[in-house]
Amino acid sequence: MTRKQKRLSWISTLGAVLAVAVGLVLYAMSNKISFSLDPTELMAKELNPGERVRLFGLVKEGSVKRGEGLNVSFELTDTLNTVQVAFNNILPDLFREGQGIITEGVLDNTGLFLADSVLAKHDENYMPKEVAESLKKRGVWQEEQQ
C-alpha cells in the first residue's frame, strides 16, 4: 500500500466509525430519552400517546391504597397539582407517604399515570434533587424537608 492509500483507508475508517456513532447518538437522542417532569409540568405538557416520562414529586399523605395482589395506587404531588399513579410491582423500602420519589412510566388517556418503576433514595433524609427544586419553584419548600 502506498502512503496515500494508507492515509485514505484510515480516514475512511475514522469517518465510518464517527458517522455510525453520531448517527446512533442522534437517533437515540430523539427516541430513547424521556422528559423528567413534576405533576404541574406533566399536565401542561403535550405528550405523544405512549410516550415514556419520568414523573417526580411527593407521595401525598393518606393516598396510598393497596389493591389485589401487588397493585398499589397513590397520588404524587408538587403541592399545586396531583397525579394519580398506579403501580404493579414491589415498592422500594424507603417508599412512604410524604417521601419524595421518582417514577417512570406512561400517562394513559384518563389521566392515570401507569408507572413501571419507582425510585426512592437510599437515605432517609434525602430528597431527590428534582423534587427539591420543583418544591422550591412552587414556593412551598421548607428547609426542614431537606
Partner: protein, 661 residues
C-alpha cells in the same frame, strides 16, 4: 488526642506537598540535582503523614469516639468491627481521605520504584503529583475536615447508612480508588513529559506498568461494585447505566485504550501525541467522575451524601487540571515528532482500531451522561437518559471491536497479513458457527439475536485461545513440545490471552442474562409454591430475629428438588434501629454459573408475602470474566520486561523484544 495528631499530620502533609509541588519542578528547570532529588524524600514522607492521619480517623471509628462529628454521624457502637473500619470511608470526608491516601501512595511508589527514571522526568512527575495532592488536601482541610470535635459528646452514634453496612463497602471503594487515582500517575507522566518536552518509546515503557496497574484495580473495583449493587439493591440488575456507574466506566474505557496505545508507542515509537493525550484524558475523566459523584449534580441510585458547595470546589480543581494540562498539551504538541502512517492491516493498525472504537464509545457515554446536565443548564428542561440510550449507542460500537479482537494478536507488526490471520482463525470460526447453530436450535425461547451474541462470546473466547494454540504449534508439534513452548511464552502473551478470554466470558454472561432471564412476581402463603425455570420454591413461613443493630423479618423458602428440599433461601427485610430505616436483603442461590435470586416485598397480615423471584442464567460469568481480566492483567504485570522499574532497554534488547513480540 490521637484525633488532634491526625488533624495535625494532615495539615503537615499539606505543607509538605506544597514544597513537593514547587521545588522539584523548579529544580528540573534550573537543572539543579539537589532540588530535583527532594521529591524522592518528600513524597514518601507525605504518604506516611497521610497514612498516620488516616489511621487516626480509623482509630476514632474503631473505638466509637463520638466526640468526633464525622464518627458520630456515620457510626454506631454496636456495629460489627469490619463495618466500623469500612465506615471510615463510607462518608464524604472519609472517602476523600482515602482518595488522597491512595494518591499519596502512588506518588511514594514512583519515588521508591522509579530509581532508573531520568532525574528531570522523575522530579516533574512527582511535582505534578504534588500539585494534585495539594489541591485535594486543601479541599479536605477547608471544606471536608473529618477531625471536627463535638461538645457535648453524644452518647451514641447516628449509625452508618444501612445500605453501606456490607462487606462490599470494605472492598469496593479502596479497589475503585486504586484504579481511579492510579491514573493520576499516567497523567503526571504525561504532563511531566510535556514539561520536559521529550517523549520517546522509553517513556511508554515506564508508563505501561502504571497504566496496567491502575487498569487492574479499576476493573476489579467496577466489577465488585457491580456485584454489590446487584445483591444489595434488590432489583436484580447488575448495570443500570446510571451516571455514577458511567463515571467509573469512562476512565475504564479510556484507560483500556491507553493500555493498548502505550503498547504501540513502546514497540513502534509511534502514536506519541495520541498516547499522551489519552493519559491526560483518562485522569480528566477520573476527576470528572469524582466531581459528578461528590457534587450531587446528578440524580443517581448510588449517591449517598453530596454537597453542592463542595462540588464547586471540585469543579474548580477539575477546570484547573484539565484546562492546565490541555493548555500545556496545545503549546507543546507542535514540538513533538509524529510517527509515520501505519498499514491498516498490522498489529499496530489493529491497536489503533481498538483505540478508535474505545475512544468513540467513551465519547458516546460522556455525551449521554452530560447531556441532561447541559440541557437543563441551557433550557431548563429536565430529561433522563437511561439504559435504552446507552444500549443503542454503546453496543453497536462494541460489536466490530469484539470481532476484531482475535485478529489483533495474530497480525505481525508493521505489515500483517489478514488472509493468513483469517486462515489461522478458520477453526475458531467453525466452532463459533457450530455453537451459534446449536444455540439457535436448542434455545428457542430467547430473542432471535441471542445466538449471535453467544457466537460473539465464543469467537472472543476461542479466538484468544487460538493465539496460544498457534504459538504452541500443537497439533503439528508433539504435545510435549507444545507444552514446553507454552511454558516459554512471554507472560504478556498469556496475560493478553487470559484477559481477552475473560472479556468473552463477560460477554457470554451479559448475553445469557439479558436474553434468557425469567422473572416471577408472586404472593405466597405458607405452604404455597411458585415455579421458575424448572425449579419449585415453597414458602415455609416467616421468622423474626435480631441482629447486632437491626431487627430482621425473613421469609423461609425451600428450593425443591423433586420432593426433597435442596436448599433454603431467606430473603429478608431489616429495620436498622438507630435510623429507623428499612432495607431488603435478597437471597441468592448459585447453581453452576446461574443464580436464583429472591427478593422479599411486602408481608401481609395473613402471613402471605410478596416475592420477586428471578432466574438469572449465566450471570456469574459477568464477574468471573472480569476476574479473568484482572488475572490476565496481573500476570502480564509480572512479566520481567514490564516490571515496575525495569531498566531502560538497550537498542539491541529493544530490537530483540520487537522480534519476539
Amino acid at each position: 488526642m490521637i484525633v488532634e495528631i491526625g488533624h495535625y499530620t494532615l495539615i503537615l502533609a499539606l505543607a509538605l506537598t506544597l514544597v513537593q509541588a514547587v521545588v522539584p519542578i523548579w529544580g528540573a528547570i534550573a537543572n539543579d540535582d539537589r532540588m530535583m532529588a527532594t521529591a524522592s524524600y518528600t513524597s514518601p514522607a507525605v504518604f506516611l503523614l497521610l497514612l498516620f492521619s488516616f489511621a487516626a480517623l480509623a482509630t476514632a471509628y474503631v473505638t466509637s469516639d463520638f466526640s468526633v462529628q464525622n464518627v458520630w454521624q456515620n457510626s454506631h457502637s454496636k456495629m460489627p468491627l469490619i463495618f466500623k473500619i469500612s465506615g471510615t470511608w463510607g462518608n464524604h470526608e472519609g472517602s476523600m481521605m482515602l482518595w488522597v491516601l491512595i494518591l499519596g501512595l502512588f506518588a511514594a511508589l514512583v519515588a521508591v520504584f522509579g530509581k532508573n527514571l531520568p532525574p528531570s522526568l522523575k522530579a516533574n512527575v512527582l511535582g505534578v503529583q504534588g500539585w494534585i495532592l495539594a489541591a485535594f488536601l486543601l479541599f479536605i482541610v477547608f471544606t471536608s475536615n473529618p477531625f471536627i470535635r463535638l461538645d457535648p459528646v453524644p452518647f451514641e452514634g447516628r449509625d452508618l447508612n444501612p445500605i453501606l453496612q456490607d462487606i462490599g463497602l470494605a472492598i469496593h471503594p479502596p479497589l475503585l480508588y486504586l484504579g481511579y487515582v492510579g491514573y493520576s500517575i499516567t497523567f503526571a507522566f504525561a504532563v511531566a513529559a510535556l514539561i520536559d518536552g521529550r517523549i520517546d518509546a522509553a517513556w511508554a515503557r515506564w508508563v505501561r506498568p502504571w497504566a496496567l496497574l491502575a487498569w487492574i484495580f479499576l476493573t476489579a473495583g467496577i466489577s465488585v461494585g457491580s456485584y454489590w449493587a446487584y445483591y444489595e439493591l434488590g432489583w436484580g440488575g447488575w448495570w443500570f447505566w446510571d451516571p455514577v456507574e458511567n463515571s467509573s466506566f469512562m476512565p475504564w474505557l479510556a484507560g483500556t485504550a491507553l493500555l493498548h496505545s502505550a503498547l504501540v508507542m513502546e514497540k513502534r515509537s509511534a502514536l506519541k501525541i495520541w498516547t499522551v493525550l489519552l493519559a491526560i484524558l483518562t485522569f480528566s475523566l477520573s476527576l470528572l467522575g469524582t466531581f459528578l459523584v461528590r457534587s450531587g449534580v446528578l440524580t443517581s441510585v448510588h449517591v449517598f451524601a453530596s454537597d453542592p458547595e463542595r462540588g464547586l470546589y471540585i469543579l474548580f480543581i477539575l477546570v484547573l487540571f484539565i484546562g492546565g494540562s490541555f493548555a500545556l498539551f496545545a503549546k507543546r504538541v507542535g514540538t513533538l515528532q509524529t510517527g509515520g502512517i501505519f498499514a491498516p492491516i498490522s498489529r499496530e493498525g489493529a491497536l489503533v482500531f481498538n483505540n478508535l472504537i474505545l475512544s468513540t464509545a467513551t465519547a458516546t457515554v460522556l455525551v449521554g451522561t452530560l447531556y441532561p446536565l447541559v440541557l437543563e443548564a441551557i433550557t431548563g428542561n429536565k430529561i433522563s437518559v437511561g439504559a435504552p440510550f446507552f444500549n443503542l449507542t454503546f453496543i453497536p460500537l462494541m460489536i466490530p471491536l469484539f470481532i476484531a479482537v482475535p485478529f489483533g494478536p495474530l497480525l505481525a507488526w508493521k505489515r500483517g497479513d489478514v488472509y493468513a490471520a483469517a486462515q489461522r482463525l478458520f477453526a475458531v470460526f467453525g466452532i463459533t458457527l457450530l455453537i451459534m447453530v446449536v444455540a439457535y436450535v436448542f434455545l428457542s425461547e430467547g430473542p432471535v439475536m441471542a445466538p449471535l451474541g453467544i457466537g460473539l462470546a465464543a469467537w472472543l473466547m476461542f479466538g484468544s485461545l487460538a493465539e496460544l494454540q498457534l504459538r504452541s504449534g500443537f497439533p503439528k508439534n508433539s504435545f510435549k513440545v507444545a507444552i514446553r513452548r507454552l511454558k516459554g511464552l512471554p507472560r504478556t502473551v498469556w496475560g493478553t490471552a487470559i484477559a481477552h478470554f475473560g472479556l468473552g466470558l463477560t460477554v457470554l454472561g451479559v448475553v445469557g442474562v439479558t436474553a434468557y432471564e425469567s422473572e416471577n412476581i408472586t404472593i405466597l402463603k405458607p405452604g404455597e409454591t411458585a415455579n421458575i425455570a424448572g425449579y419449585t420454591l415453597r414458602m415455609e413461613g416467616m421468622v423474626s430475629r435480631n441482629g447486632p443493630n437491626f431487627q430482621e423479618n425473613a421469609a423461609q423458602i425451600s428450593v425443591m428438588d423433586g420432593t426433597r428440599v435442596a436448599d433454603t433461601l431467606e430473603p429478608s427485610k431489616r429495620i436498622y434501629t438507630a435510623r429507623n430505616m428499612p432495607t431488603s436483603e435478597a437471597a441468592i442461590k448459585t447453581i453452576w454459573f446461574s443464580q436464583l435470586y429472591v427478593a422479599l416485598g411486602e408481608v401481609k397480615e395473613d402471613g402471605s408475602a410478596v416475592l420477586r423471584i428471578w432466574w438469572k442464567p449465566l450471570i456469574t460469568l459477568i464477574w468471573i470474566g472480569s476476574i479473568f481480566m484482572v488475572l490476565g492483567g496481573a500476570y502480564s504485570l509480572s512479566d520481567r520486561r514490564l516490571r515496575v522499574g525495569a531498566p531502560k532497554p538497550s537498542a539491541k534488547r529493544a530490537r530483540a523484544a520487537n522480534a519476539t513480540n
